[in-house]
Each structure stands twice: as structure tokens, then as C-alpha cells.
Symmetry: C2
Subunit: 136 residues, 2 copies
């Protein structure tokens, strides 16, 4: 049976990364590990690692991006939680076997070799859950 091994990150949608850093970095004191601009997703992301897990602040860079639409509809706030799993393909089979709806049919792979997928919020109490299998 596939196992969840921890929280990888907690993603927060914000209007503007620099303004948001005023709370998360400057007031709360979290370290800013890196700032990344993703032109494909039309977002800017700030990564603030904790001893275990990470806070990610995500802001839209265009008015037509998915994140901009989310902000317009829901406002800033908690967006998704990403859990690490030892075997994502086995976990996806396990979830489908329990009737859980997944957003992706198969794992996607990011530029760091991380395999990932999303569980549909309607199967997870309104929570958008991302699953990560880290590159070996």
C-alpha cells in the first residue's frame, strides 16, 4: 500500500508576492529560499522553507491566468496542500479503487523530475490536494 510520508508544501494565493513577503518573511521571519517566475502558468512564486515542509506564495503575473481568476472569485488565502507519497502511481490506483476522483489520469512530471497529480476537491472535503513523488 502506498504511503503518505509528509507535507511537502502549503500553497497560498496572494495578490502580490512582494507585499505578501511583508508578513511571511519580514514579520514572521521565514527565510525566502527563492523567487521564481513561471511564464507558462503566468505566476510568480516565493518559496519559504520550514524545518519540514514549505510555504509557497503564488501571485498571478497576468489578468487572464488561472490564479488571477481564482483570486477574483475567492480572494487571497489557502489554495492547496501538497503531500509527499512514496509511490504516486500506486497511490493513484489506490485512490481510484476507493472511488476518489483525480484531476489527472496519470502523473505529470515537473522540471525537477517530481511526479505529481491532483485529487479533485469534491473527493477531499473541498481541499485541493496535490501529491508529490520526489525524484529518486
Amino acid at each position: 500500500m502506498a504511503q503518505i510520508t509528509g507535507i511537502n508544501h502549503l500553497a497560498i494565493v496572494v495578490e502580490d508576492v512582494q507585499t505578501a513577503l511583508g508578513f511571511w518573511r519580514d514579520a514572521l521571519g521565514l527565510p525566502l529560499h527563492k523567487l521564481e517566475r513561471n511564464d507558462g502558468e503566468q505566476v510568480e512564486i516565493a518559496f519559504l522553507p520550514l524545518s519540514s515542509g514549505e510555504i509557497e506564495l503564488i501571485a498571478p503575473t497576468t489578468e487572464s491566468s488561472g490564479v488571477a481568476k481564482y483570486l477574483a472569485k475567492r480572494g487571497a488565502g489557502l489554495h492547496h496542500v501538497c503531500l509527499e507519497v512514496d509511490n504516486i502511481a500506486a497511490m493513484m490506483d489506490q485512490l481510484r479503487g476507493k472511488g476518489i476522483e483525480l484531476i489527472n489520469d496519470a502523473p505529470k512530471v515537473n522540471e525537477l523530475g517530481v511526479k505529481y497529480c491532483f485529487v479533485h476537491p469534491k473527493s477531499a472535503n473541498g481541499v485541493l490536494v496535490e501529491l508529490y513523488e520526489l525524484a529518486k
Copy 2:
């Protein structure tokens, strides 16, 4: 300077704990550490620990509880994130010094000796942030 040391828990508001366990415990495989009924807050809470940090599922036990009102207004979903801090009184001073609005004037203490307080979501990009200083 007070330091954030990690994520203590991520709280998710759900309609019903037993139904929610169908995803978090039975499908995802997280262990159920304990179920607790808090008649003061009029909630039932399921605690599902990860290797670091914990998922808490919170459901109302009365229709007039704060959580029931939250559910009626916002629906189920991510409710708050709790971060551990080494010195909560120093962190509260530090936050106030940066103009951050706190919900509590002084730390509260729970039955386990944990000191806690909440940061107002309007100072934290719409996120309700709880701070915990664990009992020594």
C-alpha cells in the same frame, strides 16, 4: 528574534468527521491517532499525524457553533494553518511591531499547556494563522 520552527497542523473544516475519514484515512491511508469531542467549541476533531505535522478534521456538533456557521458560509475546506514558534510572547511583540493584527491580546493556554494565539487573516493574505508554543 522569535523563530517559527515548523508546521504543527493543518485544519480542515468538514461536514462530518466519519464521512471525511473515508478519504483521509481509508483512501489516503493516514493513521487516525484520536477522535476528540470538544463540547465547549461544539466540535468533533479527528487527528491524523504525518511524519511531521498533523491533519485535523473539524466538524460541528451543533448548528449554532462557530464552525457550523463557517461551513454554512464558506463550505468545507482548508480552515487554518498552525505554525510552531519557540517563544510566542516574543513573536507576538515582533508581529505587533510590524503592524500585524492579532486576534488575541495575550497567548491563551490549552489543556496540554500549549500557548497559542491567532493572527488575523487580514494581516496574512486571507489565511487564518495559529501560532503554538509547545509546553516545555
